[in-house]
């Protein structure tokens, strides 16, 4: 009897080890030290800031987990925030002005009581120079460490800016302000996960750090005296590194087991051309973290910009025109409650039908499918 129990426990333990990561769990194969950093980083990620601890004076959320929360820390959020830029194609300057001198591109929707008392505002005003204001939902951030570990060369091999292969798809890379390849954010503006995380502390929570040591402005004007009493930096380099470790080591949710219908849907996904932009697999390169090194990641994205047509267009960002968006990674899609960059689509079917521009051909082919095939494709998407 005892021997039987031991065998049963061993089998269950082995099964648990093989169980694919669930949302919020770390990558498999971490060292004890990496796992400890992941756990400590989650504490910072979940920590809510107060004005006394540095919150604001402008902010969108009080914690990382305020917006990345469902079903667990790192997941999606209901919040919608606002970005604004100015697009002037054909002018003497850069076509896109991220309005950095006027508080942009993120215009925060909340203020601390001290800033409200000083300026009488409820949010950061968007300056009249903005040519567009965009709504942005909070995506899940599972598996983003793997996307960070994909070499530039892997992304650039899918670029076809002049559509030389004539498939109607012409992905092109975005660039950060210093010329590096961008990949994070809905417009693929930010080159690395670390920079995205470090910048988000200031842009989203109003927290200064050694990486971003100065508070921003209120629409380009300095903060009124006394509205930011916490001494800078408001977050230590150590806490910044731990938060980065948590985000970096979050595993992508493993795709669900496919039914025969979903399996057929995966084939239709490729046949109608979705995979032209939603590239099913990218490969990571060398990396100091073994769990991120030379891994296949089911990104379903090429991380490049594509013209999605005028209906979806909103802001420019870096080299991205208002029409252009980065191919949204579909890993973890089943966790999403809203779809597309601003959540305007309530179902995956609606999202497909709102594709235009370079996505128009695949959309039209989807629309022309028999109902059973359309259902199969959607069933496949719901396994991701």
């Amino acid at each position: 009897m005892t021997r039987g129990w031991i065998a049963l426990v061993a089998i269950c333990s082995a099964a648990a080890c093989r169980r694919p990561p669930q949302p919020g769990e770390p990558l498999r194969g971490l060292s004890a030290a990496e796992r400890a950093r992941f756990d400590s980083g989650k504490v910072v990620f979940d920590s809510a800031f107060t004005p006394e601890k540095g919150l604001g004076p402008l902010f969108n959320g009080r914690a990382c987990a305020s917006c990345h929360e469902d079903p667990v820390s790192g997941g999606v959020g209901e919040e919608v925030e606002h970005h604004a830029t100015a697009f002037h194609p054909g002018g003497p300057g850069r076509a896109c002005d991220e309005l950095a001198a006027l508080g942009g591109p993120v215009f925060q929707d909340s203020v601390t009581p001290l800033l409200r008392a000083a300026l009488g505002i409820e949010k950061e005003p968007v300056p009249p120079q903005a040519t567009a204001i965009a709504e942005r939902t909070s995506p899940d951030i599972f598996g983003r460490g793997l996307l960070d570990a994909v070499p530039d060369s892997e992304i650039l091999k899918y670029a076809d800016p002049d559509d030389r292969n004539g498939d109607g798809i012409s992905g092109r890379p975005n660039r950060f302000l210093d010329g590096r390849l961008g990949r994070f954010g809905r417009k693929a503006f930010v080159p690395t996960l670390r920079e995205f995380n470090d910048g988000a502390f200031l842009a989203e929570i109003g927290i200064t750090s050694p990486s971003v040591p100065d508070e921003g402005t209120v629409a380009g004007k300095p903060l009124p005296a006394g509205t930011d009493p916490a001494p800078d930096p408001e977050l230590s380099a150590h806490s910044l590194e731990l938060t980065d470790a948590f985000v970096r080591l979050l595993a992508p949710p493993a795709p669900l087991k496919q039914s025969s219908e979903a399996h057929r849907g995966s084939e239709i996904f490729a046949q109608v051309g979705c995979a032209g932009c939603h590239v099913p697999k990218l490969r990571t390169g060398d990396n100091p973290i073994p769990a991120l090194r030379h891994q296949e990641v089911a990104a379903y994205s090429d991380l490049l910009l594509h013209d999605m047509g005028p209906e979806l267009a909103d802001i420019c960002f870096g080299l991205a025109t208002p029409n252009e968006f980065r191919t949204e990674p579909l890993m973890g899609l089943r966790l999403a409650k809203h779809f597309l960059h601003d959540g305007r689509a309530k179902t995956p079917e609606q999202a497909i039908q709102m594709h235009a521009g370079e996505g128009a051909r695949a959309r039209d082919l989807f629309d022309s499918l028999p109902p059973a095939d359309r259902a199969a494709l959607v069933a496949f998407l719901k396994t991701l």
Partner: protein, 125 residues
């Protein structure tokens, strides 16, 4: 008493000797202070007549604009596309050029010490 006199003499001479070892300090206004910061980013605006430059830079979505005064003596070089650093004029810099600049703070604002054009913000730089 003799020991006290020697110690007193040493304490008088030591600061003088130390001061003599230091290099002479030029007047603060004339000293080009050591670069206290550097920036790498995309040029937002150039005003060759006013000799000013605006550079957009930042971390992630936390962006800022650095405004620089560019005295005529500031070396501006071109390393774009692997160039060897040929001298160029301020007026040759264009919005969208990626530059690296060393600068310091003065009472009048930030002043550039060196500027290098290292590329251009393009899909294929």
């Amino acid at each position: 008493m003799h020991r006290v006199t020697l110690l007193s003499l040493a304490s008088l001479i030591a600061p003088l000797a130390l001061a003599a070892q230091r290099p002479p300090t030029p007047p603060p206004a004339a000293q080009p202070t050591a670069p206290h910061d550097s920036v790498r980013g995309a040029i937002r605006a150039v005003d060759a007549r006013a000799r000013t430059l605006e550079v957009t830079t930042g971390v992630g979505y936390a962006l800022r604009v650095v405004r620089l005064q560019v005295p005529a003596s500031v070396p501006i070089t071109d390393r774009k596309g692997g160039s060897q650093g040929a001298p160029i004029k301020l007026a040759e810099l264009k919005p969208g050029d990626v530059i690296r600049a060393a600068f310091g703070g003065r009472a009048t604002g930030f002043v550039a010490y060196t500027i290098e054009r290292v590329g251009r913000m393009e899909s294929t730089p």
